[in-house]
Amino acid sequence: MTTLLFFGRLSDVAGCSRMACDLPQTVTTVAALRAWIAARDPILGQAIQAQGVRVAVNRSFCVSDMECTLGAEEIAFMSPLSGG
């Protein structure tokens, strides 16, 4: 079971900020996860492709879309950060 988290504007688009998913074995990278989300919810799928969206796997920022998501407990999709 993997928890998907959505922050900022993406939490509005997803309709929630947290989603527990049983990801199929074929979803092994961030890119594959994006495609899986887009297949289930095209609007959300497009929103997570927007410029500035960052991804963290198990609370670590991803540098590449090829990063492994296998066995990840928590994957976060984040709208552009805006603290301060």
Partner: protein, 151 residues
């Protein structure tokens, strides 16, 4: 170094006084910045800001940013307090303060920490007014300022 992410309102005056009191006659320079929630944004009234954060990640990342600032400048101490959750108009959102022997280091540290917070801290700001809510995202200027600092 103290880094605090808190849902509770805080007094920047009291925190700054306490931070400066521990300098013991050693530091010559104290620079600080306070960001407040404004009652207006442009021409429309703001009731409050809502700062979403990622519990357990935001704290770690902000501390990491503060450590980078501390490592880049000759400081005696650094203080970062950032509110999350609902922040009413007039309340402080963020306080950053740096104690140093030299004013240039103190200024640079505070300014750089603020730039990092704007673009690199996992927090999401939403402005709530009478007409509804809207997300605030960093401006091109924020990103340009951030780019001036080495990674």
């Amino acid at each position: 170094m103290r880094v605090i992410i808190t849902p509770d309102a805080f007094s920047p005056d009291a925190e700054l006084a306490a931070f400066s009191a521990q300098r013991n006659g050693e530091a010559g320079a104290l620079a600080s910045f306070v960001g407040y929630c404004r009652a207006h944004a442009g021409d429309h009234p703001v009731q409050r800001l809502e700062l979403q954060h990622y519990p357990g990640f935001t704290e770690v990342e902000v501390r990491r940013l503060a450590e980078a600032v501390l490592a880049r400048h000759t400081l005696l101490d650094l203080l970062v307090i950032h509110r999350v959750g609902a922040i009413e108009a007039g309340e402080a959102i963020v306080l950053v303060a740096a104690l140093s022997d030299h004013r240039a280091a103190a200024f640079a540290a505070v300014s750089e920490m603020m730039d990092y917070l704007k673009t690199d801290a996992p927090m999401w700001k939403r402005e709530v007014g009478i007409a509804g809510a809207r997300w605030i995202e960093p401006t091109a200027e924020d990103h340009a300022r951030r780019q001036e600092h080495a990674k």
